[in-house]
Symmetry: C2
Subunit: 130 residues, 2 copies
Amino acid sequence: MQQTRKSRQRDAILNNLRARCDHPTAMELYLSVREEIPSLSLGTLYRNLKGLCDSGKIIRLSDGGEEHYDACTAPHWHIKCDCCGRFYDLPVSPEAVRAVPIPEYDGEIRDYSLIFFGVCAHCACAADEK
Amino acid sequence: MQQTRKSRQRDAILNNLRARCDHPTAMELYLSVREEIPSLSLGTLYRNLKGLCDSGKIIRLSDGGEEHYDACTAPHWHIKCDCCGRFYDLPVSPEAVRAVPIPEYDGEIRDYSLIFFGVCAHCACAADEK
DNA sequence: AACAATAACGATAATCGTTACTGTTATTAT
DNA sequence: ATAATAACAGTAACGATTATCGTTATTGTT
């Protein structure tokens, strides 16, 4: 098993991700953490992101292209802008979370991923200006 | 704009996908369609999959790794097995679909993707046998 | 039916996000 | 302090997807 020892790199990665409200890609996070630790290797970033996901400290957001990462593990959903590709938080009440019906299934359902798609306010404005 | 002319390759791809109940990856589909058209190029497959997605004739299922494709466009959800990685249909009633709460959002929500995760019946059985 | 325009093709190279490998460094228990 | 090894930096490899390019096939027009 891994990630038993502490490391400055992993702390910096997790702290950086926790301090931001966007949902950066690995590269965006890499460039940002490099401002603090210029020697950070991309392999180290990916290795730690994987470990942090496995241990449930961060969440991976998938939609075909690059992965995005989120350090907020409280229940909330996301919207991805069809236009700019960014992920945004979509705060939902606990009641809404509970309202998602868990289907009958001849197996075991453990979790789900719910991502909305649309146009963010920023991109909608940009379109109006044309 | 593209995909204005008909093509034997695209028809074969779409028909193949419609005839199956699994949710194949591009490579799985490629190998299958090649049995009908051995000269089919992988580039042609990807180009047509993209076009078919854009025109809404098929659906792309994303979860980090390879993409999976589904020719069923009627509303239904999916479960991905944590164990074998396969996607399965999860038929849901129209009422269940309507039960998903659309959050308030300062932009425009157009669609959503809901994927459940768990263990399929097949993998659960395999685990029991150990 | 022949022709011209070009969408679509097959083959293959390039791209790019991610993972694996290798020798070195840093953490931790003894 | 020492030894064991997790974790690192640097870099090569991987794999799914996309782009390029010369050729083929479809389609509207003579």
